[in-house]
């Protein structure tokens, strides 16, 4: 077993050495360096395009997906080796997308073979870009209170309604959305998980400006949009099951980025010489918690390998996002008046700080996470 893994590691290392373009080895992980793919994608450079194509050909844009659907068919241990070898040479991620993170897992779990064969390979190759349509105006944490309608009319639905917080909807080719297909059923019933081509007639989007400035979020409107009924994932009226399954995935994803550290970075210099116990104590405590949170993410990843983390993942989402808010507050405080200017001495810090306030709202609020933990992990009565 270990020998096989060692052999795999050597193979990966050689292949990366031969195939990863030099420009893609800069560890670039900022927003501006992400390759999102899609029909209208403008590659940043030839290297970015080549890197995507080569990785997609190996199935390594989605290493653990089955080979039949464009994946690499890797085991979890093999995937871990691939990731560590990529980190070793500071290789960029070739492709990121909501298709990979969210629709893929949903289709793999709930989709028909035809759906998987049709939708997954273009995601793996970065040819089709997806966005998510869950939230609606006035619904907030109550995701099941979906009002947007998909009325069955023979072999298709007619979709009407509005979604908000649809990230990158203005750049996406397709959207997966929760829509009410039976208006008489109880709240959690009668919802379906529907795939819609954004180029369909009647679909429009409008960007949302946040307190932190422009954002990837949009409002998305459906006005008598015709959608074939075979574009439902899972059973019709059982879309809530799909949504719940995906919410767990989303939680883990969002928390993943939350464990940022202060140490060794700007804040060390910012704090240098600061004689303020309040600021110092805040920074120290925040760093301690961030280090411990980083270890917790590792522990939970290991746990996920042997079974499911399940509802405990709500902890990662809650703690990671609250921590990230605290970290941003500490940095703003350390920056003082220099950090009060948009694009001033500390660059995007003020916008990042404001943006971080959404962390504990999007993808399930902190309050929802705490309720999940109290009921499903601690077993307190509902």
């Amino acid at each position: 077993m270990t020998e096989a893994l060692d052999a795999f590691r050597a193979e990966v290392r050689d292949w990366l050495e031969a195939n990863c373009p030099e420009e893609m080895r800069d560890g670039g992980s900022g927003e501006e360096n992400i390759c999102w793919g899609g029909k209208r994608w403008q590659f940043q450079s030839e290297a970015q395009k080549v890197w995507l194509e080569r990785m997609a050909a190996k199935g390594w844009t989605v290493p653990t997906w089955p080979k039949d659907y464009g994946g690499g068919g890797l085991s979890r241990d093999e995937d871990k080796i691939l990731q560590s070898e990529m980190r070793r040479i500071k290789a960029r991620s070739p492709l990121q997308s909501f298709g990979i993170w969210m629709l893929g897992p949903a289709l793999l779990h709930f989709g028909t073979h035809e759906q998987k064969a049709h939708y997954l390979p273009p995601i793996a190759r970065g040819e089709v870009r997806w966005c998510q349509g869950y939230s609606e105006p006035g619904a907030g944490s109550d995701l099941a209170s979906v009002q947007s309608r998909a009325e069955p009319r023979g072999d298709h639905f007619v979709v009407n309604g509005q979604k908000v917080w649809t990230s990158y909807a203005d750049k996406a080719d397709w959207i997966f959305a929760l829509l009410r297909t039976d208006k008489d059923a109880p709240k959690h019933k009668g919802i379906s998980f529907v795939l819609i081509d954004m180029s369909s007639e009647g679909v429009s989007t409008r960007p949302i400006r946040l307190i932190s400035g422009s954002s990837p979020f949009c409002e998305t409107f459906f006005d008598d949009v015709k959608v074939p009924r075979e574009q439902v994932v899972g059973e019709e009226n059982r879309g809530w099951d799909v949504a719940k399954y995906l919410l767990t995935h989303e939680r883990e994803m969002i928390s993943g980025g939350g464990g940022g550290l202060l140490g060794g970075r700007g804040v060390g210099a910012m704090l240098d010489g600061a004689d303020d116990p309040v600021l110092r104590a805040g920074a120290m405590t925040c760093e301690i918690d961030a280090l411990a949170m980083g270890l917790t993410l590792e522990r939970y990843k290991d746990m996920a390998k042997t079974g499911s983390v399940g509802d405990a993942s709500a902890m990662l989402k809650y703690y990671g996002t609250e921590l990230n808010k605290r970290r941003n507050e500490v940095m703003m405080l350390a920056g003082g008046s220099d950090a009060l200017e948009w694009d001033g001495a500390h660059g995007s810090l003020p916008a990042d700080w404001l943006r971080s306030k959404a962390n504990s709202i999007e993808g399930g609020t902190s309050e929802v996470m705490l309720s999940i933990i109290s009921r499903r992990v601690l077993g307190l009565p509902a």
Binding site: G140, I211, D276, P277, K325, D338, W353
Partner: protein
């Protein structure tokens, strides 16, 4: 000391201010200025002058209403509730308090200019990212009968709109406060794009000439004039922050009552109830500290340092909590620029830093309380 409750006069002042501001300067007024790329509304300032607000701390003989610091705090608090954008604190509070420490004709004339709404002042003290008057390094070198001032100041609030600027600079034996017109040769201002959309500037001084007439108070003794001015400003700013907290809190409680989720108003959820109730307690306790600072400045100004730092520290902590809970309890809509809560959060952050952050004032309290 007079009770911390509002007197009848004070209640009337607050009510009339509220009435005026709800009409003339609701949050949409600040939004409008921002969207138009402006940081000051001369018409609003003129109205404030007409009502006597700009002269709230100007002696009657100089044309002011001389209502005192508690009254100034009440006005600042009402302004805070709707994030009113004006040079009130820098001009009507800080500069007026500095100027009235000085008994000469120039100061009287300057005070009259403030009361009449004709002169806007800014305070240029800080040179680094944290408020620290004692650390000022800018030099005013003796030059003939006068001085040549060189260096740079940052976070000069109202600095772009200001007609005059109070500048702290190091002279031979100590610090000296200069009162200069902003159009004097050698002064260059550049706008800071603050997150709260208010006016602030970086100002560089390139061998700016100053005479003895430009000195406010005595050479080498800035603090006799500046300390009361700073404390007056800190108290008024604390009052403004109390208003910001109250405004954000009121929006939040309204939202908790109206907004429904899972079939009931979200204000029925006990976890939110308890957080809202805790926040209300914080605002109440802070309100006492703010009222006390105003009273103390009016009745025992030489001993007001503790009261002022207490108010600024508490107000900073409370408004920070108020806007954080405000955004979180509003959920996604609280994050949108189209909604007002973000403006409260941004103003709270800038006000937290101006004239000394929590740690700065906590250190003063600790020193005076021998902790």
């Amino acid at each position: 000391m007079t009770s911390l409750l509002k007197t009848e006069d004070e209640t009337m002042l607050a009510d009339s201010a509220r009435g005026f501001l709800d009409d003339a300067a609701p949050v949409s007024h600040l939004r409008g200025l921002r969207d138009a790329g402006k940081v000051h509304d001369p018409a609003l300032w003129a109205q404030m002058a007409e009502m006597g607000w700009t002269g709230v701390l100007v002696p009657e003989e100089a044309g002011g209403a001389d209502m005192g610091h508690a009254a100034a705090g009440i006005l600042a608090g009402e302004m805070g509730k709707t994030l009113v954008c004006s040079p009130f604190i820098g001009t009507a509070v800080i500069a007026a308090t500095a100027l009235r420490q000085v008994a000469n004709d120039r100061a009287s004339a300057a005070l009259r200019g403030i009361a009449e709404g004709k002169t806007i002042y800014a305070l240029a003290v800080d040179e680094g990212p944290k408020h620290d008057p004692d650390a000022a390094q800018m030099e005013a070198v003796a030059d003939g009968n006068g001085f040549r001032i060189s260096g740079a100041k940052t976070f000069v609030c109202d600095g772009m709109s200001a007609d005059r600027v109070l500048v702290l600079a190091r002279t031979g034996e100590g610090l000296t406060l200069f009162d200069l017109p902003t159009d004097r040769d050698g002064i260059t201002r550049s706008a800071m794009s603050l997150v709260d959309s208010r006016d602030a500037a970086r100002i560089t001084f390139d061998a700016v000439a100053a005479t003895g007439d430009d000195v406010l108070g005595q050479v080498d003794d800035a603090m006799t004039v500046l300390r009361p001015a700073l404390e007056a400003g800190q108290a008024a700013l604390a009052a403004e922050m109390g208003g910001v907290a109250a405004g954000a809190f009121a929006m939040t409680v309204e939202y908790l009552k109206e907004r429904k989720q899972f079939g009931v108003p979200i204000g029925m959820f006990q976890a939110l109830q308890h957080r809202a109730a805790h926040l209300w307690c914080e605002t109440e306790v802070t309100a006492s500290a703010i009222a006390h600072a105003g009273r103390k400045l009016d009745e025992d100004p030489a001993q007001a340092t503790l009261a002022v730092s207490l108010a600024k520290a508490r107000a900073t902590q409370t408004v920070t909590l108020a806007v954080q809970e405000g955004v979180q309890m509003h959920g996604g809509i609280g994050m949108t620029d189209a909604f007002d809560m973000g403006f409260y959060m941004k103003r709270a952050r800038v006000a937290a830093e101006w004239l000394g952050d929590y740690g700065y004032h906590a250190a003063i309290v600790a020193r005076l309380r021998e902790i």
